[in-house]
């Protein structure tokens, strides 16, 4: 077996295949299918300071090669997580990363400070790119001053690995990436979902209660790949790539474009075993290409 380990700042991953926030619950749901210690890491469902009910049903619409969602960060809040969920999952032998959310900078800090106390959470993913909430979320991630303000504040409250999750709903994502790098981010992950919508022509009504939602799945892969490539050239910190990854070839494309690791998201809804197949597929690829380490692939695009 080739060396599949990669490093994201202080975070050592046994392989570069991680699960994307919002698509794998709090890891227990995936652990009902297989032992999650086989994964590179898990980005847990986004957490806010207090309980959020999320948006009204319907929150999902199937679209060609993908889907729209408008969940709206339904979660029970950081205190509930710490008291009820964290004790059950903290000994999983894979890095568990908390996706931090808030409506204001103060709320982001409130969650971050509580997460900072959790010994078995080695990193956070600062979510400044959720398209489905009215306040906060993507509002911070679509301008350099907004992204800088949250990153700066959270950086000062957190001393472990800080990853910032970027929105693709911007003119130039590499500018936002450079802005958060300048404020001390240890890595960036991209892309979150693209704002989209779907209409039922017969009823003339939107398919989502919120009218618009976030598009994910293979439909977005070429755009996500392009954005990861652009960002990887613009920043020095590690990039975690995601967007429509369904198989090992997709994951390898993101690594070649410059991602140090990938997140698998919507693919889990089709088959929760896909990430394990990807780990195996990357290993086979390295053997076939006589490479001994996955690090040889990162940024290996031949121009």
């Amino acid at each position: 077996m080739a060396d599949l380990s990669v490093k994201i700042h202080d975070l050592l991953l046994k392989n570069p295949v991680m699960l994307a926030s919002g698509t794998c619950g709090y890891a227990e749901e995936i652990n009902e299918f297989y032992d999650v210690s086989q994964l590179g890491g898990i980005f847990l469902k986004g957490i806010t300071p207090r309980n959020r009910d999320g948006n009204l049903y319907p929150r999902m619409a199937e679209t060609p090669s993908g889907m729209l969602n408008a969940v709206g960060l339904q979660n029970k809040g950081i205190d509930y997580f710490i008291q009820n969920i964290y004790p059950r999952i903290k000994n999983y032998e894979t890095p568990l990363i908390i996706n931090v959310n808030g409506s204001t900078v103060e709320e982001y800090i409130e969650v971050t400070e509580k997460v900072n106390e959790l010994d078995n959470i080695p990193a956070i993913e600062l979510n400044i790119s959720c398209p489905n909430v009215k306040e906060g979320g993507m509002a911070f991630g679509v301008s350099c001053p907004g992204a800088e303000a949250v990153t700066r504040a959270v950086r000062s409250a957190y001393n472990k690995t800080l990853i910032v999750k970027l929105s693709p709903n911007v003119t130039d994502v590499s500018e936002i990436a450079k802005a958060v790098e300048g404020q001390g981010a240890d890595g960036v992950s991209l892309v979150n979902t693209f704002v989209g919508m779907a209409i039922d022509a017969e009823t003339r009504k939107p398919l989502l209660s919120t009218v618009t939602g976030g598009l994910s799945g293979p439909a977005i892969k070429p755009i996500a790949l392009r954005m990861v490539w652009q960002v990887a050239q613009a920043v020095k910190i590690p990039v975690i790539g995601m967007g429509g990854i369904m198989n090992a070839a997709d994951a390898i494309e993101f690594l070649l474009a410059g991602a140090s690791a990938v997140q698998v998201g919507t693919a889990l809804f089709k088959d929760p075993f896909i990430p394990l197949n990807i780990v195996e597929g990357i290993d086979n690829y390295l053997l076939r290409h006589q490479m001994s380490s996955v690090s040889e692939l990162i940024g290996g695009l031949q121009l």
Binding site: F33, N51, M60, Q74, D271
Partner: protein, 259 residues
């Protein structure tokens, strides 16, 4: 860990039941885990850009000797349409077993099970599994017209089967709740319903009036089927819950239905 699986099932039969319902029987490559009435499977209807997500189907019958299950598929949209075109020998990937099952009746209970359309599948499954004598189990099956009905005569030994049709071509004319048995609901210990939402709400309304225990099976749109996407939520007295993991079976007292 290991409670849920993803497995490639082989289609052994695809039998048209009437103009838009099909019985599909599938054989598991592995030993079948226990599956109970109300639980479902999530089926990948092959790679097609238009049908990206799996489609959930309530289990109709289990056959542990042959590691096989069956489902009833009603053509509703592009996914179910495509699924009804499968042929014996083809392979389909299933995520299973998913969801919570109906509460089993207690010995001696008098039960009314109400099924509409393909919603009769879990009702007949429950009748067979309930362990109750047939005289304690009344089953009402509703449809638009006689030609929409599915032959359930094989289940006569598990309960007394009654029909309703909106046009009066079979059984009592009208909706399921127009059946005379709904005039005697206080005789029952448990009422179960599965079918279109309007039908289940009508049953729930009558059950609530008499205060009889009542469970319904919801079919909200789902993406994952195992509790991670949070798309199929239903507002309940305990907040927004995933129909796929906290349901699909709910007690009507836990739902926030305006009935």
């Amino acid at each position: 860990m290991g409670k849920k699986s993803v497995a490639d099932f082989i289609i052994t039969e695809n039998i048209p039941l009437n103009k838009d319902n099909y019985l599909i029987r599938l054989k598991s490559p592995e030993s079948l885990p226990p599956i109970k009435p109300g639980q479902f499977v999530n089926i990948d209807i092959k790679n097609s850009s238009e049908i990206f997500l799996r489609r959930p189907f309530s289990v109709f019958e289990t056959d542990y000797k042959n590691n096989s299950i069956s489902i009833i598929v009603k053509v509703l949209g592009r996914g179910s349409k495509k699924l009804t075109e499968v042929k014996a020998g083809e392979v389909l990937s299933l995520v299973y077993p998913l969801g919570k099952h109906f509460t089993y009746p207690s010995p001696g209970d008098k039960v009314l099970a109400v099924g509409g359309g393909s919603g009769l599948a879990p009702m007949l499954f429950l009748a067979r599994e309930s362990g109750l004598p047939a005289e304690n189990m009344d089953i009402i099956i509703g449809a638009r017209s006689a030609t929409d009905h599915i032959d359930a005569s094989a289940y006569n030994k598990y309960g007394n089967i009654y029909f309703t049709t909106e046009d009066g071509t079979l059984g009592t004319r009208g909706l399921v709740t127009h059946h005379p048995l709904f005039g005697e609901l206080a005789n029952y210990d448990k009422i179960y319903a599965c079918g279109p939402e309007g039908m289940m709400k009508a049953v729930a309304r009558e059950a609530k009036k008499t205060g009889v225990f009542c469970e319904v099976s919801l079919e909200n749109l789902m993406a994952c089927g195992f509790g991670v996407c949070l798309c199929c939520i239903e507002p309940t007295v305990n907040g927004n819950l995933c129909v796929c993991t906290e349901g699909p079976v709910f007690n009507i007292n836990d739902l926030k239905w305006q009935i």
